[in-house]
């Protein structure tokens, strides 16, 4: 099974190469892949129908309990068949639909990648693997919805779909992790049957809400349904595949998967059935209002998804049978209807039913197919849709519910009949209406018709022999959802009973409503302002809020002042660590001082030097103080049994002084800018840190949470690592990987220093004088030197005299007026290259300048 998923991804991978040679015929070759997989999955039907569950184990990250194990039971088999079967037809259809589109190969690649992800999703046994595939479907669907990326509307719709589903995906991840931590396993098979432990856990409600958020956003449940109609901006094959048969059913699949574990909970029943019913009604209602064929279908899909959620929520055995049947029926007719809508759009040039009419003469086959599929949608015998609808009504009556759910279901069924009639009759009957000329409208190529023909044929066959389809395909799925063997049957004729009566009523009322559809629609326009305030408003409001919050927090937190960042970080550190110290450990002070005079002197010098480095006004003084700090530290290391550290510290200290001499004295001397108030504030912050660190040390000395690991290192240093210097053994043997990382850091720092010095126009005029970077090569330089006109020569002269660049400098930091009193500063850089003595002179000047600068700054403050 892992291979099945892999094969599809591989197919996606080689598509671009095939496309170069075969153009749109690539699709026909690629359709073979899902076709073969469909047959392969179909061969498993007898096994699975016999109650077996196939498990193919494969480890992925065993340390984290993440595996690629795949499971084939009734539910995943039904989904796998739908994904591969409809996938085959869609790939064929896309070949013809997008013929001549230069981006067709991209489309096929993403479509196949989506197919693989979807297949992985329904086969995965591990919750994390399931999540990974879940997100992959979100991403591929984003790319598919936004396929016409030149269209702003498509981009917007794609982004909306992505944000809604991925936000839900995040919630889902939380929910899955909670589920796994409660149940103690990431494997769905292992979680099965632990429902009691789950429902009684305190985290249960939070987990349930997270899981449902994930499932509801993916499956376009109310109030997240708005992204699905917008996603109709996608090319028709995408709508037919993702938004009817597969991706939106992922949420439903997840709910069905979890039904055996969570179905016992009352909250689950209430949430699922109420949101399902709400979604169903919203979908049906919005569908009746629409005139665009694809929108009609999209809203009726929302209705169907709501119905499926409702059925899972009802949770009785009949409901489970109805669930599987309804899911199959819906996938068959909805896939067909979407493809047919695409044909109408493709041929007649419009999808708006009010602009179409009388197409049956030009598109006879399409008209018949639409009619049959619509019959299934409306639930009229002898189609499979009827069987499913009967079961739906039966399980509704069987469930113990408030009457409002009956009303919802009835209203929805009535509306669906109306919608089905609109789809089947409006474009094809009446007087001829179409944006294109009558003569140009003709039946599409066979590849486009193949899909609808097969699906409609299956709808019909399944309706005629529901018993066989039931026992082979849907009942095993129902068994998987119910978590136990389901006794039941699917039949066209259930006898004269209440469901049949209700069915009849809904058909009759629906047809009447169709008659007055136009009038009904115009009546409904009164509601437009209310609908405009629907959940989609919430989405836009939310997106605006995100931008607003981002702006606000950037203003507050990222104001670009490093000192503010540092102060914030330091204070947060003091707050959190201090709080932990105070609450977890008592502050105590061990005055057990045992020290010698020379140690005290060393520490005294250290502290005095550190403070001196802070208060001195001269750079030389601070460098000297830093030297004293460094050597005292070295002395402390040596006094307290760390010879290696002492040596290293002394050597580094020497090199540091050299470094500071080389660089620090080319920087301006200390300027005292801050006011006394600022100084006091900063001193308080600094002292807070100091006091915290002091207590931290005192506490860490006494508290020992773990046995030190160095015991092992000391004992085995000679026997195992053959070294007597344990510190060195740790560096090059025990923790050599750390050291390896560290020498890489050192190397990087050196390369950084080198790059900053060498690729600097000021210090190395030869290399990239103009570009100043490594990436822009000599070519750029040559081009810049080419002079095209008189103005440029003039410009060049000015530049050589440092007039322009000096001016530019002036603009850049106008605060720095006092710096520019005597000399244009940028000339400093270039003169230095040409004339050493002049540079030296300027340096002297600059020195004065700095002193002056310091004075001025001091006065300013």
């Amino acid at each position: 099974m892992q291979l099945a998923v892999l094969v599809i991804y591989l197919a996606a991978l080689i598509t671009p190469w095939l496309f170069v040679q075969h153009q749109h015929r690539t699709a026909y070759i690629m359709a073979l892949v899902p076709a073969v997989l469909t047959i392969w999955f179909a061969t498993h039907i007898p096994l699975v129908a016999g109650g077996e569950v196939l498990i193919h184990e494969y480890q992925w990250i065993p340390g984290l309990d993440i595996s690629l194990t795949m499971v084939l039971d009734g539910l995943s088999l039904m989904f796998a068949l739908l994904i591969c079967g409809i996938g085959t037809l869609i790939v064929l259809y896309a070949g013809a639909y997008l013929k001549g589109n230069p981006a067709q190969n991209r489309f096929l690649v993403i479509l196949l990648a989506f197919m693989g992800s979807m297949l992985g999703l329904v086969l995965a046994d591990n919750l994390i693997t399931l999540f990974v595939f879940w997100e992959l479907t979100s991403i591929t669907s984003y790319m598919l919805i936004g396929f016409n990326h030149q269209s702003a509307e498509a981009r917007k719709a794609a982004l909306q779909g992505l944000i809604v589903t991925v936000a839900g995906g995040l919630a889902l991840l939380c929910g899955l992790v909670m589920l796994a931590s409660i149940a103690g396993s990431y494997s769905i098979q292992e979680i099965l049957g632990s429902s009691e432990a789950l429902t009684e856990h305190p985290l249960f409600v939070g987990m349930l809400i997270c899981l449902l958020l994930g499932a509801f956003t993916k499956s376009a449940q109310f109030p997240f349904h708005f992204w699905l109609p917008n996603a109709m901006a996608a090319p028709t094959p995408v709508s037919a595949y993702l938004h009817s048969a597969t991706m939106v059913k992922a949420g439903i699949y997840l709910l069905a998967r979890l039904q055996p574990e969570l179905g016992e909970s009352g909250l689950w029943t209430i949430l699922l059935s109420s949101f399902g019913a709400m979604t169903m009604l919203t979908g049906a209602f919005m569908a009746v209002r629409s005139t665009d064929l694809k929108k009609l279908l999209a809203y009726s899909t929302i209705m169907a998804l709501g119905t499926l959620t409702l059925l899972i929520g009802i949770g009785t055995e009949t409901a489970m049978i109805a669930f599987a049947a309804y899911l199959l029926a819906h996938s068959l007719y909805k896939g067909a209807l979407f493809m047919l809508a695409g044909i109408v759009d493709h041929e007649a040039g419009s999808r708006d039913v009010t602009l179409l009419g009388g197409l049956r003469k030009n598109l006879p086959l399409t008209a018949i197919l639409v009619a049959v599929a619509a019959l299934s949608l409306a639930g009229i015998p002898p189609l499979f849709g009827f069987v499913a609808k009967e079961l739906l009504l039966e399980s509704m009556l069987g469930g113990a519910f408030h009457s409002f759910i009956y009303v919802f279901v009835m209203v929805a069924s009535i509306f669906v009949v109306t919608v089905a009639s609109v789809i089947a009759l409006r474009p094809f009957f009446g007087t001829f209406k179409a944006p294109k000329e009558k003569e140009k409208i003709h039946e599409p190529p066979i590849a486009m018709l193949a899909g609808p023909v097969v699906l409609v044929f299956l709808s019909l066959v399944a309706g005629i022999i529901p018993g066989t389809v039931g026992s082979w395909v849907t009942l095993p799925a129902s068994t998987a959802v119910a978590g136990g063997v389901v006794e039941g049957y699917l039949a066209l004729w259930h006898g004269l009973n209440l469901p049949l009566l209700l069915s009849g009523i809904s058909i009759a009322v629906g047809l009447v409503l169709f008659k007055y559809w136009d009038a009904f629609r115009s009546r409904l326009q009164v509601l437009d302002p209310i609908i405009a305030r629907g959940p989609e408003r919430g989405y836009f409001w939310f997106m605006d809020a995100i931008v607003w919050v981002a702006e606000w927090q950037t203003r507050i937190l990222q104001n670009g002042s490093m000192r503010n960042y540092l102060r914030t970080i330091v204070l947060v550190f003091v707050g959190l660590t201090g709080y932990t110290l105070l609450t977890r450990y008592q502050l105590h002070w061990n005055w057990d001082v045992n020290l010698y005079f020379h140690e005290l002197v060393t520490v005294g010098i250290l502290v005095a030097a550190a403070i001196a480095a802070c208060i001195t006004h001269s750079r030389l003084g601070s460098v000297a103080a830093m030297g004293a700090v460094g050597f005292s530290v070295a002395l402390i290391f040596i006094l307290f049994s760390a010879p290696d550290l002492g040596i290293t510290q002394i050597l580094v200290e020497t090199l540091t002084v050299i470094l500071l001499v080389l660089v620090l004295f080319r920087l301006p001397s200390f300027s005292n800018i801050s006011t006394t108030r600022e100084r006091i504030r900063d001193a308080i912050v600094a002292l807070l840190v100091g006091v915290l660190i002091m207590f931290l040390i005192m506490i860490t000395i006494d508290v020992q949470l773990f046995e030190p690991i160095s015991g092992y290192m000391i004992e085995n240093s000679y026997t195992l690592a053959h070294g007597r210097n344990i510190v060195n053994v740790i560096l090059v043997d025990y923790r050599a990987l750390d050291t390896l990382g560290e020498i890489f850091v050192l190397a990087l720092a050196a390369m950084g220093v080198y790059a900053m010095i060498k690729f600097n126009p000021a210090t190395s005029p030869g290399s990239n004088h103009y570009a100043g970077t490594l990436i822009l090569g000599e070519k750029k330089l040559a081009e810049k030197d080419i002079i095209h006109s008189l103005e440029e020569i003039h410009q060049k002269m000015l530049e050589d005299q440092n007039i322009i660049s000096a001016g530019a400098m002036k603009d850049r930091n106008d605060n720095d007026d006092d710096d520019e009193d005597d000399s244009p500063n940028s000339s400093y850089d270039e003169d230095r290259d040409h004339d050493d003595s002049q540079a030296a002179k300027r340096k002297a000047e600059e020195h004065d300048d700095d002193a002056e600068n310091e004075d001025k700054e001091g006065k300013k403050s």
Binding site: D644, T648, L651, G723, D733, I743, F744, L746, A749, N760
Partner: protein, 143 residues
């Protein structure tokens, strides 16, 4: 800022630098048993070269080093990485130490090992990194 060295510095550098370099190799090799090791030895060697640099200037120091210090960084990292693999070929975990004791004719035993190779890598990287920085800075200064 670098004036030509005084005669004392001149003479001292000539004698001290080879001694310091020798000392650094000594520190490197004994590092496993006594205080020392790649980091310390590398810093000592860098100190030696820096002394030379301050006395004779960067061009002469580059001559003395023969290898561009940047290449030294690369060689050091490469040698460090080399010590990672012998264990893998032995079927052991990455970076596990391997020991190959060799008896010299005089009766002394030399222990060749991957930690030693690794330490040499550290040594070269430290020398290379330090000298890259300092030579670059001095060259910027000399211009």
């Amino acid at each position: 800022m670098m004036k030509p060295g005084t005669i004392i510095l001149y003479t001292a550098a000539r004698f001290l630098v080879p001694l310091q370099l020798l000392f650094s190799v000594f520190l490197l090799l004994r590092g496993h048993n006594e205080p020392g090791g790649g980091f310390i030895a590398g810093l000592v060697a860098a100190g030696a070269f820096t002394l030379y640099l301050f006395t004779f200037g960067s061009a002469v120091t580059r001559d003395l080093m023969r290898v561009d210090p940047r290449n030294l960084i690369g060689i050091g990292l490469f040698i460090g990485m080399l010590s990672v693999f012998p264990a893998v070929f032995q079927g052991q975990a990455f970076l596990t130490a391997q020991w190959w004791p060799i008896m010299l004719p005089g009766g002394t035993e030399i222990k060749l090992s991957t930690p030693l190779i690794f330490d040499i890598g550290v040594y070269l990287t430290v020398v290379g990194a330090t000298m890259t920085m300092i030579i670059a800075l001095t060259e910027a200064e000399e211009r």
